[in-house]
C-alpha cells in the first residue's frame, strides 16, 4: 500500500533547485493541485521537464508566473507570454527539444536504455554539438536519456496499491514520466478500492508510484 500524502507534504518534500518532470499537454493531464501548491509555496530554481509551457493559468504556467522556474526543458513555449518575457530577460533558461525526442528520452531514462537514436533534428540547429551514429547505412542523432528527482503526474483513477488509469488525451506524458524519476507523485481524480481497476486497464502499475495525493476530507 502506498502512502497517501497531502499537498503540504508534497511541498515539503520538493526542495528548491529540484529537477522535476511535470506531465500534461497544454495543461491537459497536468496535476493542477500540486502545481498550485508549489507555486504558492514560492519554490526557487526548479528545473522543469514538461512537454510545453501551456498558458499562464494552466500546465506549468503558474510556476513560471510565480518565478519558481530557473530552467525549462520542453518542446513548445509559443502561447505563454510569461515564458517569452522571462527568457528574453535572461531569468529563465529554455532548452527546446522536439516532442518525439523528448518523450523518447524520458522513456530511455526510465527503461534503462542508453539513449535515443532518432532521425528527428538531423540537419537542424537541434543537432549542433550532438554525436551522430550510423546504423545500417542511415545516420541518426544520439540523444541522451532524461531523468528527474521528481515526477508529478495526474491520473484519472488510482487504487491504494498505486495503480493508475488515465483518461483520453489526458494520458499523454503521464505513463512515461512515471518511469523516469526517483520519486513519483500522482494526483488522481479519484481513489478506488484495490481490485476495482481491471489488470488490463492499469496504465501505470503501482510499483512505479511512490505517493498519491490524499482525497480532500
Amino acid at each position: 500500500m502506498h502512502l497517501a500524502i497531502s499537498l503540504d507534504e508534497v511541498v515539503e518534500m520538493i526542495p528548491d533547485g529540484a529537477r522535476v518532470m511535470l506531465s500534461g499537454f497544454m495543461g491537459v493531464g497536468t496535476p493542477d493541485g500540486i502545481v498550485r501548491a508549489l507555486a504558492a509555496s514560492g519554490k526557487k530554481d526548479l528545473t522543469m521537464i514538461v512537454n510545453d509551457a501551456a498558458r499562464p493559468h494552466c500546465g506549468v504556467g503558474p510556476l513560471v508566473k510565480a518565478g519558481c522556474v530557473k530552467k525549462f526543458i520542453g518542446s513548445h513555449i509559443g502561447v505563454n507570454p510569461d515564458v517569452q518575457e522571462q527568457m528574453r530577460a535572461g531569468v529563465l533558461e529554455v532548452e527546446l527539444v522536439p516532442q518525439g525526442t523528448l518523450v523518447e528520452r524520458i522513456r530511455a531514462g526510465g527503461m534503462g536504455l542508453g539513449g535515443v537514436l532518432t532521425p528527428t533534428g538531423l540537419g537542424t540547429l537541434i543537432a549542433e554539438g550532438k554525436p551522430t551514429v550510423e546504423v545500417e547505412g542511415k545516420t541518426y542523432l544520439l540523444e541522451t536519456p532524461l531523468r528527474a528527482d521528481f515526477a508529478l503526474i495526474a491520473a484519472r483513477s488510482c487504487d491504494y496499491v498505486g495503480n493508475l488509469t488515465y483518461m483520453l488525451t489526458a494520458t499523454n506524458f503521464n505513463p512515461i514520466m512515471a518511469l523516469a524519476a526517483d520519486v513519483v507523485i500522482a494526483e488522481p481524480e479519484e481513489i478506488v478500492p484495490v481490485g476495482v481497476i481491471p489488470p488490463d486497464s492499469v496504465k501505470t502499475p503501482g510499483v512505479l508510484v511512490d505517493h498519491v495525493i490524499k482525497r480532500a476530507a
Binding site: H76, I77, L125, A170, T171
Partner: protein, 229 residues
C-alpha cells in the same frame, strides 16, 4: 450547385484548406497542424474513413462538440476541445510519436514561416524575435509519409516562398507539396515546380509574388476547387 461558387472571392485560408483536402486519400491517417491546416477537415466527406491524429495521443478526432458536451480530457494538440469518432483510440505520447516517426502517418499538413526552393520548411523560430518552439513539427516533417505545407503566400508583403530559408529549418527532409492561396508548388530534384495557380491568379502574378525561382513547365492550370472530395 458547386458551379455557382465564385472561388476568386473565397477566403484565402478556405481556398488553401479546400485544395489541401483534395490531396487526402480515403482511409488514411492524417495529422493537421494548428491554424489553416485545422480547416482542412471541414472540406472532407466523413464517409471517406479518414482518421485524424494529434500529437497528444488522439487517433480519430472529430469536430468540437456542442457547448456543454465538451470534456477536459479530450482535446487536440492546441488544447481545444474535440470529439471522438466511432473507432477512435487514445494513446500515450511515446506511442503517438512512434506512429509519427515510424512511418505510420500517411500525411501531415503544417503551417510554415518559410519554405524554400529545395522544399525545406522553417516553422519553429524567428531568432531574436519569437521562439514558439518546434512542438511535434520536427518529428512530423521527418516521419510522415507525405508532408504538405499549407500557408498564406506572403506575410507583411514578403514572400514566404524563398530561394533558401534564412530561418532555422524544421527538418532536412524535402516536403512534398506547398499549397498557398496563389499556387500549388512541388519541390523536385531539379527545382520548385509550379503546378497550379490560385483562383483568378495568373502565372505572372505568382512569379511576381514569389522569392524563389519557379519551374514553369507547359501550361499551368488553375486549381479546380469545384472537384468533390
Amino acid at each position: 450547385m458547386k458551379d455557382l461558387i465564385d472561388f476568386t472571392t473565397m477566403d484565402p485560408k478556405e481556398i488553401i484548406a479546400r485544395r489541401v483536402a483534395m490531396e487526402i486519400q480515403p482511409k488514411s491517417l492524417v495529422n493537421l497542424g494548428i491554424g489553416i491546416p485545422t480547416l482542412v477537415s471541414d472540406h472532407l466527406d466523413e464517409g471517406m474513413g479518414v482518421f485524424f491524429q494529434a500529437e497528444n495521443g488522439a487517433v480519430g478526432m472529430g469536430h468540437r462538440p456542442p457547448e456543454g458536451m465538451t470534456d477536459r480530457h479530450l482535446t487536440d494538440a492546441g488544447g481545444s476541445f474535440v470529439s471522438a469518432v466511432p473507432g477512435a483510440s487514445t494513446i500515450d505520447s511515446a506511442f503517438s510519436f512512434g506512429l509519427i516517426r515510424g512511418g505510420h502517418l500517411d500525411l501531415t499538413v503544417l503551417g510554415g514561416l518559410q519554405v524554400d526552393a529545395q522544399g525545406h520548411l522553417a516553422n519553429w523560430m524567428i531568432p531574436g524575435q519569437f521562439v514558439p518552439g518546434m512542438g511535434g513539427a520536427m518529428d512530423l516533417v521527418t516521419g510522415a509519409k507525405k508532408v504538405i505545407v499549407a500557408m498564406i503566400h506572403s506575410a507583411k508583403g514578403k514572400s514566404k516562398i524563398v530561394q533558401t530559408c534564412d530561418l532555422p529549418l524544421t527538418s532536412q527532409r524535402r516536403v512534398n507539396l506547398i499549397v498557398t492561396e496563389m499556387a500549388v508548388m512541388e519541390p523536385r530534384d531539379d527545382g520548385l515546380y509550379l503546378l497550379e495557380t490560385g483562383p483568378g491568379i495568373s502565372v505572372d502574378e505568382v512569379v511576381a509574388a514569389t522569392d524563389a525561382t519557379l519551374v514553369i513547365d507547359g501550361d499551368i492550370p488553375e486549381m479546380d476547387l469545384s472537384r468533390s472530395v
